[in-house]
Amino acid sequence: MTSRVALRWVASAAVLAAAVAFPFWASRAEPYYLQIAINVVIFAVLALSWDLLARTGQLSLAHAAFYGLGAYTSALLTLRSGLPVPAGILLGGLLAVVVAGGLGILTLRLRGIYFAIATLAFSETLRVTTNQLRFTGAATGLVVPPLLGGGRVAQYLVILGILLLVIAISAFVNRSRWRYAVTAVRANDEVAATMGVNVVQVKVAAFMVSAFFAGITGAYYGHVFLFISPIEVYSLAVSVGALVAPIFGGLYTTAGPVIGAAVLRVGEEILRTTIRSGYLIIYGLILAVVILYMPRGLAGVWDALWRRRA
């Protein structure tokens, strides 16, 4: 057990060092890799923040809603009122928090598939509305000012910092008393309530934290790729991507969603560049096989391997 803990620390430190050093190498060697790396980290933030809410048993399809809200809030604030980009990104995240608070209270009684449908409807409503509003650039979208003057290395380090923050929050939740609260609420919220857990607080707080990271990540996305449109940022693909990675990597863990996001995004990129047409079929097949035969994801396989050795 102790060797496992030690190994985990060493591995984490090595991955962190590599992640920090990576852009300095990539920006000289192959800038295209840096672009992919930014995508991977965005995906990882979305996946892990989605998982934070999933730990309370709520299967959300609203990640696209908060991603889009953050993207549009920051884009409009920086474009129309000349707010600095970092402030815009932060406000994008904060608006997502406020909206999540309201939506969380409204959907409190909904569970499972009903909650999923309500959150999907919310996302779609925002997409359709934004598509119609002239104020938000309608279907044409908006051209967005760059973060940090467009420097890719600095931009990468910003999103890496955001990822480290979600990782810290996730690790804290899983090691503190809150793990007991969220796991109990996920298993049965009525029983949890009669054992003293404030179910409303746990669910709404998880929703707000989860939405904050979706919001700032959406805002960040706009200021890095310099263009946003409703069909892109309010896309169901954002919500689905955010839930596929944790399922693939291992739900309710810190490492699972992050590793899942990295493997999926890099794997998708490799498939895309090696298979000319129809790469998504292969991608879908791999996903289906993993979800069918590894119900606890990559983290489950890892645990099983360790148990066999011990």
Binding site: R177, T183, A187, A193, M195, V197, N198
Partner: protein, 245 residues
């Protein structure tokens, strides 16, 4: 002063009256059994007391305080603990961790994880789960799941413990063990209100019995008193020439 007082408690579901004008007082330190045919409103009463349901009318007074409008988690903090008839262990957690939830969140004073673990283990020993503390809840037998229900409720350090059919499905030996555990709990100063259909257990355990039928209390007294009560006999067996339940 009674620890718990239900006053004119009424709950209807659509047209169905589940609990009607129910008056009940539970005295500090006693073991009171609530019995009655299926559908008499016993479990609904538990849901009203623990706060999972809100009554249409009436008040629930716990320890001199009107708790009718308070959410279940606050009632747990005040000292109302309960088990569930259908066992509902928290999955993805060990037996010990299940019990720790109550230790961590069941009272207003925050506990460290270490203290919660220590106290949860003590409760596991009290109910006879010490050999299963590290086990996942999946694969636990009925008797152990019932023990876990009791342990989790105890972990909130209740002053009033509501036991919903903890004897159902137990072998006679297991039921005897459960009776001993419930007595031990009471001897620690916990007041017990229990629902049960196993009459021998009710007789052995309860100092007083309240009988419900169609949401109303039809009798109250010692086991011997209610067993002789014509209204009770009628509720259980039906009137001669009438329809039996």
């Amino acid at each position: 002063m009674s620890l718990l007082r239900l006053q004119k408690l009424t709950k209807t579901f659509g047209g169905l009256v589940a609990v009607a004008d129910l008056e009940l007082a539970v005295e500090e330190g006693e073991i009171l059994a609530m019995i009655g045919p299926n559908g008499a409103g016993k479990s609904t009463t538990f849901n009203l007391i623990s706060g999972l349901l809100a009554p249409d009318e009436g008040t629930i007074v716990f320890d001199g305080r009107d708790v009718t409008g308070l959410p279940p988690n606050v009632r747990a903090h005040l000292g109302i603990g309960r088990t569930f008839q259908v066992m509902q262990p928290f999955h993805d957690m060990t037996v010990r961790e299940n019990v720790m939830v109550g230790e961590l969140f069941g009272h207003s004073v925050p506990k460290t994880l270490r203290a919660a673990q220590r106290d949860a283990e003590e409760i596991c020993r009290l109910v006879g789960l010490e050999h299963l503390m590290g086990r996942d809840v999946l694969g636990l037998g009925v008797a152990d799941l019932k023990r876990l229900e009791i342990a989790r409720a105890l972990a909130t350090h209740p002053r009033l413990l509501l036991l919903d059919e903890v004897m159902a499905g137990l072998t006679p030996t297991e039921a005897q063990q459960a009776i001993a555990v419930i007595r031990a709990i009471r001897d620690r100063g916990v007041t017990v209100l229990l629902i049960d259909h196993v009459m021998s257990s009710v007789r052995d355990l309860a100092e007083r019995v309240a009988v419900l039928n169609f949401g109303r209390k039809i009798a109250e007294g010692t086991f011997e008193q209610v067993a002789r009560d014509p209204a009770v006999i009628e509720a259980y067996l039906g009137v001669e020439g009438g329809t039996a339940h």
